[in-house]
């Protein structure tokens, strides 16, 4: 029974280690479990033995799995707790090896000088054999190794406790101390004939295994929780970033809303004047009301767009037409760009393949890059502020988006740090923009690069893989050449 439990545990954890070779803790654990299984088998043989010789041999062989267990426990503690003095570890293993050696060369075994006979006793509702004989003083070597193991475990426990991993220290260290001491105690009691029961060290080791197994699985559970927390925090950070970008867009929002509001007010006041006439023109009044309704809808669309942009809800991944997405972002920044005297030129490539991704996140990337360009060019004389956004398909099928501005460009000295979190060259900057952009682009299996143009100014290059199995719908009607924004007609 013990054996089958141990074999199962051993099997599971061996599999875990096989999947991830880094998890040596699992390897040591499964070896310890195997050892315990072997020990159980020997104990069983002992309990079922019909002659002293059989018993002696079984007990002799028991020391082999015992050695495996001790060494595995040492290994587990070293790898899993990352603690325990190496000197002690070697001492434990050394002494245990010595005791194994002594066990194998002696007859019948390490524990008995001579086994005189067998006795049957009751144990757990069954009749089993226990030995009678003279105990072997060399067995103290074995006991010494176990004591050293306990000392080693305590040392590791203290180190781990001091490190702050209190629960783990207590559980792993404590279980080793407890069970090994108990097991040793049982052996001593049995061998010195103070109690009448079979030797069952494997039960104690099973106890250790159960505890350790529990600790190992806690890691797995934690990993899942940590991954979820990380995803949640990323999402929060992106939202905060969007909010601060909105701060920069506040002027744009106000301006955008003022347009339909002006239309509404003008129409409504015209309506008042119409009604003041002796015979009001109802056709004209109807036109007034339709215009008011249309403008109100337009205003609420603007608000909804802004709110969608801010909202935490990330859209699911779907096929996106990049040129249209960029155009949408440009509409958002248009009034702000006009305010800052910035000319933005879009050069969308016709027949651009679609990209699979999250449209809200990608919009955020482009918005951030445009705002960065705007701020970089703030010091340039008016008329010298120009941003070109170009899309193209590479030979390997991937999609390239380039943003080139006429600003001062990136500082060459800090060029390799621009993507670092919290790195910023602006006194009011948070430094998260490019880090978040890179995170988003990389999660879309793309890459983002920055550099300076030969003619001066910065260039940001984004490469994205095309969505598999989706054909571009706008190949026919995308306009080649320049489309100038802001402005309603191309120049």
């Amino acid at each position: 029974m013990v054996a089958s439990a141990c074999l199962t545990l051993a099997g599971i954890h061996a599999l875990v280690w096989w999947r991830e070779r880094q998890a040596l803790g699992n390897l040591w654990f499964s070896m310890a479990a195997l050892g315990t299984a072997g020990m159980g088998a020997c104990e069983y043989a002992m309990m079922r033995s019909s002659s002293p010789a059989e018993f002696g041999v079984a007990l002799q062989w028991l020391h082999v799995p015992a050695w495996v267990i001790v060494v595995s426990l040492v290994g587990f503690v070293r790898v899993f707790l990352r603690a325990g003095r190496p000197s002690l570890a070697w001492a434990v293993c050394g002494v245990r090896t010595l005791s194994l050696g002594l066990d194998l060369i002696q007859s019948p075994n390490l524990n008995y000088r001579v086994i005189t006979g067998l006795r049957q006793v009751g144990f757990l509702g069954d009749t089993v054999s226990i030995a009678e004989g003279v105990s072997n003083p060399w067995m103290l070597v074995g006991q010494l190794s176990l004591m050293l193991l306990v000392v080693f475990a305590v040392d590791a426990m203290v180190t781990t406790w001091r490190r702050g991993e209190r629960q783990r220290a207590l559980v792993v260290g404590g279980s080793i101390v407890l069970f090994v001491t108990a097991g040793s105690g049982q052996s001593v009691l049995v061998l010195w004939r103070l109690v009448d029961m079979p030797l069952t060290p494997s039960l104690f080791f099973l106890g250790i295994l159960v505890v350790m197994g529990f600790e190992l699985s806690r890691d797995v559970l934690n990993a899942g929780r940590l991954a979820r927390e990380l995803a949640h925090q990323r999402s929060e950070l992106a939202r905060v970033h969007r909010a601060s970008t909105l701060g920069e867009l506040a002027a744009s929002l106000a301006h955008e809303l003022n347009q339909p509001l002006t239309g509404i007010l003008g129409n409504a006041q015209a309506g008042e004047l119409l009604l003041a006439r002796p015979s009001p023109d109802t056709a004209e009044l109807r036109a007034v009301l339709s215009a008011v309704i249309a403008d109100t809808r337009r205003a609420s669309d603007i608000i909804r767009q802004m709110r969608d942009f801010l909202c935490k809800r990330d859209a699911p991944r779907r096929a996106i037409e990049l040129n249209a997405l960029i155009a949408q972002v440009l509409r958002l920044v248009r009034s702000e760009a006009v305010l800052r005297d910035l000319v933005i030129v879009a050069e969308p490539a016709p027949g651009l393949p679609m990209v699979r991704g999250d449209s809200v996140q990608l919009q955020q990337v482009f918005l951030n890059l445009i705002v960065n360009a705007q701020q970089a060019m703030a010091g340039m004389p008016p008329g010298a502020r120009r941003l070109v956004i170009r899309t193209a398909t590479r030979d390997d099928g991937r999609i390239v988006v380039e943003l080139e501005d006429t600003g001062p460009g990136f500082d060459a000295a800090s060029l390799d740090r621009v993507f670092e979190a919290f790195f910023t060259t602006r006194p009011d900057g948070m430094g998260m923009g490019l880090a978040i952009c890179r995170s988003i682009i990389e999660s879309h299996d793309g890459l983002i690069r920055v550099g300076n143009r030969a003619e001066g100014g910065a260039r940001v290059t984004i490469v994205l893989p095309p969505a598999a199995g989706v054909r571009s719908k706008t190949g026919a009607d995308a306009r080649p050449g320049e489309v100038t924004l802001p402005g309603t007609t191309p120049l």
Partner: protein
């Protein structure tokens, strides 16, 4: 008097539709444009009118248009509207001679009042200019000698003194003087002086700029 036209320039459709309707229902003739370029392309406006103009527009902004128009012969009064609400801009616009500067959403009453003011101003300017042009023509009809006599009269000289200066007889001076009065349509020296002032002449008869009165020219500097 020809009807005035309100020229409305804003790049946003809602704004154009709403304000155009308001201005039209209030009784004015209104023409709307989506950009300054379109307005300029339509050629110089004929007849009296005023401009309602968004300050910042893509391409040619409202202020730029104001500057361009200022160089022309008959700049129309301008009312600025804006969605941005920035004060330095409004100060600058008002200093360049705008009639008013209104934030969006534009209050209809304020807009119509400003339009009324602007159109009245434009009418007055045109009238003065017409009168001055008319006067200018009249003065052009004077002969050289008549002009000399007139200058003498404006200086306050007696006929005798004028005769002495010009080297002609006093009765001749009197004849010329009579013809000047007749051609210019005045009956007294005081009227003559006033007329000369209106025509932009200085106190001693020197000519002002042809066809211009001081208040029809925009103040220099934007």
């Amino acid at each position: 008097m020809p009807t005035s036209t309100v020229y409305l320039i804003d790049d946003d459709l809602s704004v154009r539709q709403g304000l155009a309707r308001l201005i039209r229902v209030a009784g004015h003739h209104v023409v709307a444009f989506a950009s300054a370029r379109e307005f300029l392309a339509a050629g110089p406006p004929v007849g009296p009118g005023c401009l309602v103009l968004d300050v910042r527009m893509p391409d040619v902004s409202g202020l730029e248009l104001q500057e361009r128009l200022a160089g022309r012969d008959d700049p129309m009064p301008i009312i600025f509207i804006t969605g941005h609400g920035d004060i330095p801009m409004s100060v600058r616009a008002m200093k360049s001679g705008a009639v008013d500067f209104l934030p969006k959403p534009v209050d209809g009453k304020q807009l119509l009042a400003a339009i009324g003011q602007a159109l009245a101003r434009d009418q007055a300017v045109r009238q003065r200019r017409a009168v001055a042009a008319d006067l200018g023509r009249k003065f052009d009809q004077l002969t050289v000698r008549e002009r000399e006599v007139m200058r003498g009269v404006l200086r306050g000289s007696l006929n005798k003194q004028i005769a002495l200066e010009l080297g002609i007889a006093e009765p001749t001076v009197k004849i010329h003087r009579g013809r000047v009065m007749e051609k210019l349509g005045v009956t007294s020296v005081a009227d003559l002086v006033r007329l000369a002032q209106r025509a932009g002449m200085g106190p001693t008869g020197e000519e002002g700029t042809a066809g211009g009165t001081p208040d029809s020219r925009p103040p220099s500097g934007a």
